[in-house]
């Protein structure tokens, strides 16, 4: 299998960059503004990588979109925050304190105010009155405030206004010249007002625009495109976040890409549709998330038994159960490993980046057909739903397609009177597979266990021998699969002090963590896994045995991969860094904990002051209808609840008057009590 690993070595070390945040309610048009900005960036020849933190709601609720803009291709959305476009009051309260020194906060002063006492030093506020500034333009739809704010941003971070104009023109082409002009004018108002009134707030970046346009893909759309390029012909799905965009992309492009796309009644139908198509002889795939995947598990064993190729994508989201439908997690590894009863060969892969989503799906389709088995791809919400600039040349339309023993005519050795043996016991475990409809190879594929011809065996003692042999035949296929896979490799210095171990989408953030650690004087390297089953136990152990401090970094609560690694190698890593609050890792978080581990600091699960404030915000929203906000926070010693507690003053939003005290446990996080002052 070709080496399609993205190597991180030749990234330029220093690059201009800036991170822009958009905060507001779902429906405030954040995604549109974000997309607009991203398009400009992509045309300027810069790169961007986004993270959209939203909630399971159609309207309302809180959304926060981050775009990291850089001259080099960054591999994660980072941990900076330099410019903030706040669409509503809630979001400015929540996120303004995080804007870094030197940063700017842009908002529509008709609707939003900014309490500067909460800001970090040297953060500039840019209040723009949409109503006043556009008073001469007639009635505008409220969402155009975003365009004005974008215009302002363009001035403040030194982006090219002409390209913005160009993109606005393209985007609103179908709406006519009037709308185009309106938008350009509003953007210009933002730009010029800022130039005139807030020039001193400008963030000075001297961008190097190459003006080479680049595509903008998410993991999901990359996977859809990659699948098509790799010969996908049939796709089935039932809507489920965060996998639905694969469906939407494929539906939209079905005709021109020659893919039949079928929405079905549930995930059980979906996976069986995909297996039916794969069985019949087309490349076939389906995608879902954790709960839908659970429903598919029975059929994964079916594919194993029928020896029908199928690719099943699980775009993981926060679990368990319905869990956090719009949050990210790497929580379904156990489920993938344990999918369906009994022992049968299945393959599990996890793309390490958005770009890799394109490649891995082709690999998966090849492996599925060559080895006639189900292949599971574990993606996740972070990678699947978030868009980033794709480096030119990352992908080629010309993907290697290997279909294995897919025959339109029986193999010569099976044309004699003994006839065609669909499940011939070969030493590779791979048996001849007919394109269904071909002459001379008629057979019945059964989920009951069977002999070489496909005839069912479940008789007393009679067929224990055949059963043993067909079981071994099926399992042998995994040896071949493992051989095709590139073994894991250390990236970075061999003799590093720390090895960060990861799988799937965390490759980029771990990569950046290593840069950060380096700047802190901590020498680290990275061992990342794309292939989870079958597993390179020997090779992994060889590497691990040479490592010093080994830390598994993953986005789940129990360290599922650390457990898997132990199960496959017996190797117990030194520690784990886990995140299971729905949000992805940022490099700084990992860096800090790595340092902590190296210093022997025990893991502290206590509720932090920031967390107590978050909890208070939630309490206020649910029980006090958003009327108050947390002000003073103190930690009091143990006070009768059996654990230390935080006590927070909750105050009026406008005048700061304290309206009561909320107590929150430090260890358990329990909200013990709300004492309103009377």
């Amino acid at each position: 299998m070709e080496n399609i690993q993205e190597k991180s070595s030749n990234l330029p070390k220093i690059s201009n960059e800036i991170t822009v945040g958009f905060g507001g309610a779902a429906g405030d048009g954040l995604d549109k503004s974000g997309n607009l900005l991203a398009r400009v960036i992509n045309r300027l020849g810069l790169y961007t990588i986004s993270y959209n933190s939203f909630q399971s709601l159609i309207r309302g609720g809180h959304t926060f979109l981050k775009l990291r803009i850089s001259e080099r291709k960054e591999l994660c959305y980072g941990d900076h925050f330099n410019a903030f476009l706040a669409m509503n009051q809630d979001s400015i309260e929540r996120h303004a304190p995080a804007v870094e020194p030197g940063g700017v906060i842009i908002f529509n002063s008709d609707k939003v105010t900014c309490d500067i006492s909460f800001l970090q030093e040297n953060v500039y506020v840019i209040p723009l009155s949409f109503k006043e500034l556009t008073s001469e333009m007639g009635k505008l739809i409220p969402i155009m405030q975003n365009t004005m704010m974008l215009g302002s941003l363009f001035y403040l971070v030194n982006l090219d206004f002409k390209t913005l104009e160009e993109v606005l023109r393209d985007i609103f082409k179908h709406k006519g010249q009037e709308i185009i002009d309106q938008n350009i004018n509003v953007a210009r108002i933002g730009y010029e007002t800022t130039l005139e009134n807030f020039d001193s707030s400008k963030i000075n970046i001297d961008w190097n625009f190459t003006h080479i346009s680049k595509p903008f893909y998410s993991g999901n759309t990359a996977m859809a495109l990659g699948a098509v390029a790799a010969g996908l012909k049939f796709y089935a799905a039932y809507p489920m976040s965060p996998a639905s965009n694969i469906l939407h992309w494929l539906v939209a492009n079905s005709e021109r890409c020659g893919v039949v796309v079928k929405q079905a009644e549930d995930e059980i139908a979906v996976v069986n549709l995909a297996i039916g198509a794969g069985y019949a002889g087309v490349r076939s795939m389906c995608a879902t998330s954790g709960g839908g995947f659970a429903l598919m598990t029975e059929a994964i064993g079916e594919a194993g038994m029928l020896e029908a190729p199928v690719v099943i994508v699980n775009v993981q989201r926060g679990g368990p159960s319905t869990g956090l439908p719009t949050k990210t997690e790497q929580g379904d590894l156990n489920q993938a490993i344990g999918a369906s009863q009994g022992d049968f060969p299945k393959v599990i892969m996890a793309p390490k980046s958005t770009i890799d989503c394109y490649h891995i799906v082709g690999e998966a389709l090849n492996i599925a057909e060559q080895y006639q088995l189900p292949v599971i791809i574990l993606s996740d919400l972070l990678m699947g739903e978030n868009y980033e600039t794709i480096e030119t040349g990352s992908w080629s339309h010309d993907v290697i397609i290997k279909r294995g023993e897919l025959l339109e005519e029986a193999p010569p050795s099976m044309k004699d009177k003994d006839g065609f043996k669909r499940y011939a016991f070969t030493s590779s475990g791979i048996s001849p597979r007919p394109l269904i409809g071909s002459e001379g190879m008629v057979y019945v594929a059964a989920t009951d266990d069977h002999d070489e011809d496909g005839v069912i065996i479940s008789d007393v003692f009679t067929n224990t021998a055949i059963r043993r042999k067909i079981n071994e035949k099926r399992m042998r296929k995994l040896d071949g699969v493992l051989n095709e896979f590139e073994p894991p490799q250390l990236e970075g210095p061999e003799d590093a002090e720390v090895t960060l171990i990861g799988w799937g989408s965390t490759w980029g953030v771990i990569r950046e963590t290593i840069e950060q650690l380096e700047s802190k004087g901590i020498n680290a390297n990275q061992l990342h896994f794309r292939y989870l089953l079958p597993f390179h136990s020997k090779e992994a152990l060889q590497i691990l045995n040479k490592c010093k401090t080994t830390i598994v970094v993953e986005v789940n609560a129990t360290g599922q991969f650390a457990r898997h690694l132990k199960a496959e190698t017996g190797f117990s890593c030194s520690d784990t860094i886990l995140k299971y609050d729905g949000e992805p890792f940022e490099p700084k978080m990992i860096t800090q904990r790595v340092a902590g581990i190296l210093n022997g600091e025990p893991l502290d699960l206590n509720v932090t002051q920031d967390e107590a404030r978050e909890m208070a915000y939630h309490y206020i929203r649910v029980h006090i209808k958003d009327k108050l906000r947390p002000s003073k926070i103190i930690q009091v010693s143990q006070n009768g609840y059996g654990e230390p507690v935080w006590v927070l003053d909750l105050s009026e939003r406008n005048n700061g008057e304290v309206k009561g005290k909320l107590t929150i446990g430090v260890e358990t996080g329990s909200t013990y009590k709300w004492d309103p002052t009377n």
């Binding site: 005709e255 039949v260 269904i436």
Partner: protein
Amino acid sequence: MITANTITEKTVKTREVEVSPDWCAGCGDFGVLSSFRKSTLEKEIKSHEMLVVSGIGCSSNLPGYVNAYGVHSLHGRALPIATGAKLANHNLKVVITGGDGDGFGIGIGHFIHTMRRNLDLTYIVMDNEIYGLTTGQASPTTMKEHKTKTTPRGNVEQPINPLMLALVSGATFVARGFSGQPAHLSSLIEQGIAHKGFAFIDVFSPCVTYNKLNTYSWFKERIYKLEDEAPDRDLTDLPDAMTTAMEFGDRIPLGLVYKVDKPTYEDTEPVLLNGPLVKQPLGIKKELFDQLLEETM
């Protein structure tokens, strides 16, 4: 050595295979099997052009006994497997067989939703009003008051009416047969396969081992043939078909209940206008690929 070309496909002449059925002596499924063989024989369908998909149950063992491609899939999942295969290669004649538990119990969601799509499939249910293979529990068509292993005081749940569900859900060919009348059944199967669209054939197929109520004679006392009593029925009249489908008591109609011509799903799927999916080229042309990338810029 005999070469591929000289292998005589066991098609028109016989749909028998070496493996013999393991049903109980007298099981209704034998009648369905012979009718099935006969009808596909009449239609001169070649072995390799036909795919028979089943679920799990006594009745679902049928594909193992006919000379055609077959999938003996999961309990309740035959219809989606068949749909996937049909969409992959719509040149295949695809027939689905199974039991009442398989199709109307665990599989009922697929039953209804598959009918909505009017794919060109033929679905034959061997309805014995019991779970046979699992030794005699009540099924969705078990009659009220029937005492089975799991309804020792008599069944209290209203049985489903498969014909009504089919009529309501969009099947374009709805019929009922009886394995005790194999010639009649055979003709229904033949018509069902010939029908372009979703054909549903509910077949009374007595379980001699576990259903002591709905026996051959029980059925014989009640059944009558629609074509005998109302040879001029308008087969496209849905309300009339429903009235017919509701008749289940002292008299039970057999025969073709409803038949209407509508576009199939395959007809409306533009990608399939270029021929069966299995024959279409894989991958993507450079121009389209570049265009797709460009559309995001």
